[in-house]
Symmetry: C3
Subunit: 136 residues, 3 copies
């Protein structure tokens, strides 16, 4: 198993595109699975189209599901931060993607995106593991 780690500065952005870095990690390996993991309790990972407005649409949907108000029992940090702690139950912090001949298998319109509604912690780690697929 080959592993690597990305350091991401999510700043005030709720969405950080990671596709290129992950594809780069997978290239050079053969067939197998790429496991992507965010070791943070207030972020998730999504496979979605980017650059056409869907990030804003997802952001609004998250706020409808998890309004940023004072309803949360888990309270600390910025107002509404309790929502960030619920997010990973719905937008999980891991992905598994297939790799064929060193190529990360994604559809034409699919990107890998870090979903991070937590503005209090911009320093994020993303852990990558490549599991070789053995002989076919």
């Amino acid at each position: 198993m080959v592993t690597s780690e990305l350091s991401v500065d999510s700043g005030s952005c709720r969405f950080v595109e990671l596709t290129e870095e992950i594809a780069g990690f997978c290239s050079g390996h053969g067939d197998g699975l790429c496991h992507i993991f965010v070791p943070h309790a207030t972020a998730g990972l999504a496979v979605m189209e980017t650059g056409s407005g869907s990030e804003d649409d997802l952001s609004a949907a998250i706020d409808r599901l998890l309004p940023r108000d004072d309803r949360y029992r888990h309270r600390h940090g910025s107002p509404g931060h309790g929502a960030d702690h619920v997010l990973p139950a719905f937008v999980a912090p891991f992905l598994v993607l297939a790799v064929h001949g060193g190529r990360l298998l994604l559809g034409t319109w699919q990107s890998v995106v870090l979903v991070d509604t937590n503005a209090d912690n911009p320093d994020r780690r993303v852990l990558l593991s490549f599991l070789p697929g053995g002989p076919s």
Copy 2:
């Protein structure tokens, strides 16, 4: 790693049962993991009971979370299509299931379902990869 591809015509159906095809792909292999992936930005995969009304209940829940109106920034195709682009963040386009002795491991009431609210594109591909588990 052994791979295969299913061609699915989702027509006007939001849910397409895939269990039998996936179980067939896994049979003949030994122990390992089966990775299931939809290379489309407007569809997801779920493990759920089918045939007892839950598909309709899920359909209604998706429409509550992602109403099919003109609120979306990502606009093209049918009215409300922006919702389809948000769906994969909540209903992810991949699954990983265990295979024991060639048998896809599912509970009695679990089925694998393509969730596809996008009526504009009925031609769907589902990519299957079997990763052998090595010696136990």
Copy 3:
């Protein structure tokens, strides 16, 4: 591939912490992926912080998304049980986590949690599979 099975009595609790048992299963193995699966159609798995109120916050979010009333077509058991059958589409019944040198890779604040809103069935099984990562 090494496998194991946990028996969980979820009783009237919607959330059961599984981290310790899963970490114990992974210890003694080297590098690889741990697949965690709930073979039930009315439960899911989440990676989240526990013990600070987020379980209650998630519980409330689930009830907002899937209100426990008589709207569901899938009707049997306790009132609102139809909601339990929709849950796994949003909180999937599987997780894949990386294992490095026998150590389950989780962030400081992350725990593995069985999410089980179904009060009708407290006897739950959780299936664990360890897939060795091969040479690095």
